[in-house]
């Protein structure tokens, strides 16, 4: 039984990989099969991550007594072989990612996944990269999984047509390629100094370094941190993010809402394992504050809902980074709670954006009449078949009644969640953060600044959102009532309901997240579990 359960760790990587590979062989007409496969794979991932959540918790002692499961790839021992590690934090992030993946995939089936074949394969590879990044116990594999998810996201962000999308896509690729080089430089420096890439092994070796070696190691860690900050979207490395996220089609943007959090997860994981000195963490606070302030100001300036949603991603990232930069251990639990709520919220928000966009009456695009020689679109000049234009409302699917009422209600819920007002759990999350910050041993000026910034940014978000909401729903200007399908409406509703459930169950969820935070701050268990792994016959070799 346990032997079977141990393979659960590798499945969140293998299942989407195989699904993506199988889908490549299906003919283009086999859309139904592809959709079924994709949904089955993502549902399986959700089940697996829930199982992992349970198995790492205190309730299940029979398999991993300390809540850390280690899977040695190819049966090689830990510092030399490659390991996948699941602990509570990884399990929480996995559950979060598969929830977002399942809802956005359902949403995309309504109409966004056509035309074009590779959407579902790319989506599966994206989930594979995200899951792998959460599970890996090895720095270089973290890089590889980052690249897998980024490569898939390059393909996804380019979906659809139009020059703005190409332009934003190119900026996105260029920035992320440059960041990947920083990542590699950091990894190489760390390897050159410590001689290992296994995160658990690194912890011990790093503390043994001293003098110039230690300085170089710290420089490597800092370069690595910059790479993570680019991917997490922190100021001043985030100018690519609003442009990309607001231009990507709605389900892709919703799935991307999770991607920035992968960078944050890497910062959390490495920051606690390597026990970096206080200066680096202090820098994290200032970077986070700058992110929060710039995103808050930008929210006020944003006119379009998708841009507003992108800036709300940045604002939540600013809160998370600066709260983590305070280095108060009691704050990590509330940070995780806020992370979960904000990911679910922004995913719902982006999907909502895709629906409210259709309330606008769009004029047919005006063709410049005296263009001497109309250029063929790029794909024609390179011999690619032009994509067929999506026909609005052409496919089956039951429309829901009261579309505008539904949109309005969901918008209000999103606004309350983003700005952190009761009774929705955005309030609970921010309240827990503020309480945790003020309950520290001594209240420093930094804590006060953070609390003030959280409150002010909530107010600003409310102002910005109500302004956009009024224009969307109350303005007398002509709007059409869109025809919403259940497939599109349900995922948004489910995410909002999930947020509500999180708020109602804040006590048990908070306790689980607190225990995840505790094990994050006491990496000894993690390190021991990884380095003590004797794969194969575990019981026989133990004295």
């Amino acid at each position: 039984m346990n032997a079977v359960l141990e393979h659960l760790i590798v499945l969140p990587v293998v299942v989407p990989l195989l699904t993506a590979a199988i889908m490549l062989f299906l003919p283009e007409s086999a859309r139904r099969t592809r959709v079924t496969l994709a949904l089955a794979s993502v549902s399986a991932q959700l089940l697996m991550s829930v199982a992992l959540l349970f198995l790492t918790s205190d309730a299940a002692h029979f398999i991993w007594p300390e809540g850390v499961g280690v899977y040695a790839m190819g049966n090689w021992n830990a510092p030399f072989g490659i390991v996948l590690v699941v602990d509570r934090l990884a399990a929480v992030m996995l559950a979060l990612s598969s929830t977002v993946a399942l809802t956005t995939l359902t949403y995309s089936v309504a109409r966004w996944d056509r035309p074009g074949q590779p959407f579902h394969s790319l989506f599966q590879l994206l989930t594979m990269g995200v899951n792998g990044a959460f599970l890996t116990g090895d720095l270089f594999n973290l890089f590889v999984f980052f690249e897998v998810l980024l490569a898939a996201s390059y393909g996804l962000v380019l979906r659809g047509t139009g020059t703005p999308r190409l332009r934003a896509g190119m900026h996105y690729i260029a920035v992320n390629l440059a960041a990947s080089f920083l990542f590699l430089i950091g990894v190489a420096m760390i390897y050159g100094m410590a001689g290992t890439l296994n995160m658990a092994d690194l912890a011990g070796r790093a503390s043994a370094l001293s003098g110039a070696d230690r300085a170089l190691f710290d420089a490597g860690a800092a370069i690595l941190g910059v790479a993570f900050l680019v991917k997490a979207g922190s100021w001043p490395l985030n100018f690519w993010l609003p442009g990309t996220y607001s231009i990507a089609i709605a389900p892709v943007a919703a799935a991307f809402a999770l991607m920035t959090k992968v960078g944050l997860y890497a910062i959390l994981r490495l920051g606690t394992i390597l026990q970096e000195d206080a200066t680096l963490a202090g820098a994290l606070f200032y970077v986070g504050m700058a992110t929060l302030i710039s995103a808050t100001v930008a929210m006020l300036a944003a006119k379009h809902l998708a841009r507003l949603a992108s800036f709300s991603v940045l604002a939540s990232m600013g809160i998370l980074l600066s709260a983590f930069g305070l280095r108060i251990e009691a704050l990590t639990g509330p940070i995780l709670f806020y992370l979960v709520v904000s990911v679910l919220t922004t995913a719902a928000f982006f999907m909502l954006t895709g629906m409210t966009d259709r309330t606008r009456i769009t004029d047919p695009p005006v063709m410049p009449e005296d263009d001497p020689a109309p250029r063929p679109p790029a794909y024609i000049s390179y011999g690619v078949r032009p994509p067929s234009v999506v026909q609005e409302d052409e496919e089956a699917g039951i429309a829901i009644p009261g579309a505008m009422a539904f949109l309005g209600l969901m918008f209000v819920c999103c606004a309350l969640l983003v700005s952190g007002l009761p009774p929705l759990p955005g309030f609970v999350a921010k309240f827990a953060l503020i309480r945790g910050a003020l309950q520290g041993e001594q209240v420093t000026p930094a804590t006060g600044v953070l609390v003030a910034a959280i409150l002010v940014s909530g107010l600003t978000a409310l102002i910005a959102l109500s302004r956009v909401g009024m224009r969307l729903f109350w303005s007398a200007a002509a709007r059409v009532t869109p025809r919403l399908r259940v497939l599109e409406a349900a995922p948004v509703g489910v995410l909002i309901l999930l947020c509500l459930a999180l708020g109602a169950a804040a006590d048990p969820v908070g306790r689980y997240l607190d225990s995840a935070a505790r094990s994050l701050h006491q990496p000894d268990t993690y390190i021991r579990a990884v380095l003590a792994t004797r794969p194969g016959d575990a019981t026989a070799e133990k004295p």
Binding site: T163, M170, A178, L184, V187, A188, Y191, L197, Y382
Partner: protein
């Protein structure tokens, strides 16, 4: 040898960064490519430079690790080359598509105002 190696990395990285900040898409592509060469050399150098040392163990019995080069950075470089190559190719496709749809090779898709 170390000096030449370091200079090579420095020149590649410097020119790569300069090109990366240029306004034309092809320059950006070249910059990314040069930068990836610099990074790959850097990773290789992190395994320490040594002559006449194979990275793969040969023979049987006890071996003296000092006679062998560190194989891990070489494996890392291989992976980094493959990944960098694939993403650069993708970047090239987007570059061409943008050039085709806007008619300019400026990174913003439009010529700056004079």
């Amino acid at each position: 040898m170390e000096l030449v190696f370091a200079l090579a990395i420095g020149v590649l990285a410097g020119s790569g960064i300069w090109l990366l900040l240029r306004p034309r898409t092809f320059q950006v592509l070249m910059g990314l490519t040069l930068l990836s060469y610099a990074v790959n050399l850097f990773i290789f150098g992190m395994g320490r430079l040594a002559l006449h040392r194979p990275p793969v163990l040969t023979g049987h019995g006890p071996v003296d690790p000092a006679l062998y080069a560190d194989p891990v950075p070489q494996a890392l470089v291989l992976t980094a080359i493959v990944i960098g190559f694939a993403t650069t190719a993708l970047f090239l496709v987007v570059l061409l598509a943008l050039r085709g749809s806007t008619g300019t090779d400026h990174v913003d898709g439009q010529e700056p105002a004079e």
